[in-house]
Symmetry: C2
Subunit: 258 residues, 2 copies
């Protein structure tokens, strides 16, 4: 491995943008300390954030904000502070994890098309929450798991023509996935397992999960039959899964040399 | 039967409107002389049209027009003229008859929803010819027999919510059927079989078929599951079928007393 392969990958992941410190921390807690009773010590948090080029005062501000928002609790234990998710944020994290860490080879779902009685019946945001993407005014597509509003016309999907798959693909953050794809490819080809230390592994995972979740949580899950064969979201999903399986997360206590 | 029951029914049918003379004749030839080799003698045609309050000169003008259009041919046979459909108009008449004389108890079809790639892919008229009614821009409904254009998204219909059935019903000439319904009800309740002579029977059938075909041929056939339970087109269909079976058409030669 070239000496700078990790730094190169890290820099590429950091330039994808949207790296707000508090948001990065949400990702970190979700990836590293999601389990009940799990926490991150202050020095570990500092080390990880420093490795991601975040200054200590920005960490303090973000910690303050996350505590105020009820996302984390901090407790003194001897001379160190331990930070942990709250019961509420742990629930939200678990919920999001089902999508963030989903296997790209999961059983394919069917799809459905629905038409609302009128445009006032439901808002786009509510429909997105139920797993539907807009196709036409009043017309939405979703996987067979999406829950249609009462009284909607619901039809079971079958074969989807190419133009429909292209149209849906373009709505599904194609540009964002296309920007992320080469960075993941770089990570996969330049970083071998076993060569990163626990801190580097933590940082790499955090940046991958962070960029991934910022895209994947912004659109409902649709079955592949509704998306173009070359939709970059598929390739990203496979690479994210490969990398997270290659670089398994350490326990929070193993990150700093004792 | 009250002495004026026939006249009352006839007047009601005539006031439904749209009784252009040439169009009435198209109906008459379709109902009375559709069979290969069948024709209507001049005196019979005159008697029927007179009974429908059409003046002789209007009959002459209409005959002239229909001959010019290639719809009928007229041949002298001895001292009378015989009028008959041409091979082309017989074909068109047969085609339309499949819908005009369809049984209201025919096997129910399924339905399909289709979405076109863009609004330019097909015109409403072409879609209507293929048996589709518009639902939204780019979105159409049709029976399972309708032929979707190549490359359309096609979904098999299932349960249709009430609002959809109402919306489709309103598009399916509900007002026209509602206007025709009481006239057919009057005919059914006031006219018993066996009491009309051959000329009256011919006129009654001609006016019923004429008003019926003017509505039914203007929209594609959709299965009942897509239409409101109280859609007046259903009731009209049943009454038209009942009346046409009660008053069977005489042979053209039986209409005038010899």
């Amino acid at each position: 491995m070239p000496a700078d392969a990790f730094d190169q990958t890290k820099a590429a992941l950091l330039t994808l943008g949207g790296q707000r410190v508090w948001s990065l921390m949400v990702t970190l807690f979700g990836d590293l300390a999601q389990a009940e009773g799990s926490s991150i010590d202050g020095p570990v948090l500092s080390a990880v954030m420093t490795e991601m080029d975040v200054r200590p005062e920005a960490v303090r501000v973000a910690l303050h904000r996350l505590r105020n928002d009820g996302w984390i609790v901090s407790q003194k234990q001897g001379r160190t502070r331990r930070h942990a998710l709250t019961p509420t944020s742990r629930q939200e994290t678990l919920h999001a994890s089902a999508r963030i860490y989903a296997s790209p080879t999961a059983q394919e779902l069917g799809w459905q098309l629905l038409m609302l009685e009128d445009t006032a019946t439901a808002h786009r945001e509510e429909m997105a929450e139920q797993g539907f993407v807009p196709l036409l005014p009043r017309v939405y597509l979703g996987s067979s798991l999406s829950k249609p509003p009462k009284n909607a016309l619901v039809l079971t999907g079958g074969n989807a023509p190419g133009w429909l798959r292209e149209q849906i693909g373009a709505q599904m953050l194609e540009a964002e996935y296309s920007a992320m794809l080469p960075v993941l490819q770089l990570a996969k080809s330049s970083l071998n397992s076993g060569v990163l230390d626990a801190l580097q592994t933590t940082v790499l995972r955090c940046l991958i999960v962070h960029n991934w979740r910022r895209i994947v949580l912004r659109h409902p899950t649709l079955p592949r039959t509704l998306l173009p064969n070359d939709w970059p979201g598929h390739s990203c999903h496979i690479l994210v899964d490969t990398l997270l399986n290659r670089f398994l997360q350490p326990l929070p206590d193993e990150i700093l040399p004792s």
